[in-house]
């Protein structure tokens, strides 16, 4: 690794383009947001340079913290549900023969690439009263009257799980597929049933990966916008909905900026945690 050559002048020149693009369009906005969070908001739309603490005071108000708390709670819940299902699923997946293995991955990737708006729409249909699950049940004669399951908490949770599940599978996939088959076989020759092998060998070895997957799903759902907007009532809205609501058409950019910075710090903390956990796994492996 360390025997790679020192960069030439040409290499630096080549590197200049991406570095400039990221600095201008990704890093500099953070400074603008930081500045904007202290600006004064003008009624009816825009904002003017100033140094006021209104937005930060609002961020740390009870009402807002309660909203943030709800966001965090539903994201944690979605993360827990996703991991509980995705971990055994991915484990089974990596032990399948090539054809079903690839087909399931294509399905997962297709779900991954679906727009949040389409996922939200599809679940609103599925959980709705016009052409959803309850209509199928009525049609089958199981139920008398069609019922709407959305908007509501469970609908939001289902939607969040749907968009996060593919990401969860994809973060677990590399490590699980690298788990040496002989390790699980060794447990079996020592008398462990498949279920016992899963519990006493696979899960403990994969614990750091599970933690990393859980945290990534958490960050990911924290950032989702449309699911809560489509499938939830206002009391189910997440931080992202608030931020974009405040920001859309420049209604209150200073407040949105303060919230976004708070979300950035929280997400960076989580991402940093994941990185530490992952590097520790890699060292252990």
């Amino acid at each position: 690794m360390s025997d790679r050559p020192r960069p030439t002048r040409g290499a630096y020149a080549v590197l200049a383009f991406p570095v400039a693009m990221l600095s201008v369009f990704f890093l500099s906005p953070f400074f603008i947001m930081l500045a904007a969070s202290f600006y004064r908001r003008i009624e009816g739309g825009f904002y003017e340079p100033a140094f006021v603490l209104d937005s930060w005071r609002r961020v740390f108000s009870d009402v807002f913290l309660e909203r943030a708390g709800f966001s965090i709670w539903i994201s944690l819940l979605a993360g827990a549900v996703c991991i509980a299902v995705a971990f055994p699923f991915t484990y089974f997946l990596t032990r399948m023969r090539r054809r079903p293995h690839v087909s399931l991955l294509v399905l997962v990737l297709s779900a991954l690439s679906l727009s949040e708006v389409i996922v939200g729409f599809a679940w609103s249909v599925l959980l709705g009263r016009a052409a959803g699950i309850s209509n199928i049940l009525v049609w089958l004669g199981v139920m008398g009257e069609p019922v709407a399951y959305q908007p509501g908490f469970v609908a939001v949770l289902l939607g969040l799980c749907y968009i996060a599940f593919p990401y969860c599978v994809l973060t677990l996939y590399p490590q699980l597929s690298r788990l040496d088959r002989e390790v699980t076989e060794a447990a079996q020759t020592l008398g462990a049933s498949p279920w016992r092998t899963f519990r006493t060998v696979v899960v403990p070895i994969m614990r750091p990966t599970i933690v990393a997957g859980f945290l990534l799903v958490f960050v990911f759902t924290l950032g989702s916008y449309l699911i809560a907007a489509i499938l939830g009532r206002p009391e189910h809205w997440t931080l992202s909905v608030f931020i974009s609501d405040q920001a859309s058409f420049n209604a209150n950019v200073p407040f949105a900026s303060a919230m976004a910075l708070l979300l950035t710090v929280a997400s960076l903390a989580v991402v940093g945690l994941v990185t530490v956990v992952e590097s520790r796994t890699r060292r252990a492996a």
């Binding site: 089974f92 727009s115 974009s244």
Partner: protein, 270 residues
């Protein structure tokens, strides 16, 4: 365990497929209103998607944004992935972290950042703003695929080219670049598909004037349901499934996703 495995797999497949199936059924419904079972089959809503100028221009706009922003994303990612892996750059870990950060943070942050940035420049509500914002946000994907390819690249190949008289520039063009091409295409495709589906960044940067397909869908949902939405959704699903199936057929999907195939293939090899 075998029962559990079958049941769990069935549950997951059902969960992932159910919304897609219901949308498919609704899109072929003859009736303007959603109902179940459907009253009759028709391709009417697909025709409308094609004929209605509003939907059609939204599709064209989204395709324009996705093709150009994915191209820009690859243009940002390739030099970065190449230089950071081919040379010993002191700040490499930091630069790489900045490169993957946009996608790791909630998109609403990039969205608001882009919004305030363009507000500050005064150049607001333009389609190119969306293209740049998408390119930055999704450049993480080609950065990861190309970096992985660089890691797997046998370092003796460029060296072999140099002993045969190729200059560093010629070596890059005739050896390294062709070997990186599959990973560049993979990264492009991933950025393309996700850009096509992206809502919040496009909305905050220029949602008022540049109506992309996801924005159009959400707006239509707000004003009430039309089966055209279902038809759009079906088209999207088909595009995504096609792109990834092509990956699976022509590329190495499993390795792209990080599988170690020497482990995966063991049972067949014995």
């Amino acid at each position: 365990m075998r029962v559990l495995r079958g049941a769990l797999t069935a549950l997951v497949v059902g969960f992932l497929v159910a919304p897609l199936v219901i949308v498919l059924i609704v899109s072929f419904n003859e009736n303007r209103y959603m109902d179940f079972p459907p009253q009759g089959l028709s391709l009417h809503w697909y025709a409308e998607l094609w004929n209605d100028p509003g939907w059609r221009s939204a599709i064209e706009r989204s395709l324009l944004i996705a093709t150009t922003s994915a191209l820009l994303a690859v243009a940002i990612a390739t030099p970065m992935a190449y230089v950071l892996r081919a040379y010993h750059v002191r700040l490499a870990p930091l630069l790489y972290a900045v490169g993957i950060l946009p996608f790791m943070l909630p998109p609403v942050i990039s969205a608001l950042g882009a919004q305030v940035f363009w507000n500050a420049t005064g150049h607001i509500y333009r389609i190119e703003n969306v293209i740049v914002a998408h390119a930055i946000f999704f450049s993480t994907l080609p950065l990861i695929t190309i970096s992985l390819a660089m890691e797997q690249l046998d370092p003796s190949l460029p060296e072999a080219a140099q002993t045969l008289g190729a200059s560093p520039r010629t070596t890059f063009r005739t050896v390294t670049l062709p070997l990186l091409l599959p990973s560049m295409i993979t990264g492009y495709a991933a950025a393309f598909v996700l850009s096509l589906n992206e809502y919040i960044i496009a909305y905050l940067v220029a949602g008022f004037t540049v109506e992309t397909l996801p924005i159009k869908i959400f707006n239509s949902l707000r004003y009430g349901f039309t089966p055209t939405i279902a038809a759009v959704a079906v088209v999207f699903i088909l595009i995504a499934a096609t792109v990834f199936s092509l990956f699976a057929l022509y590329g190495n999907l499993l390795r792209f996703l990080g599988a170690d195939e020497s482990v995966l293939e063991k049972p067949e090899a014995r």
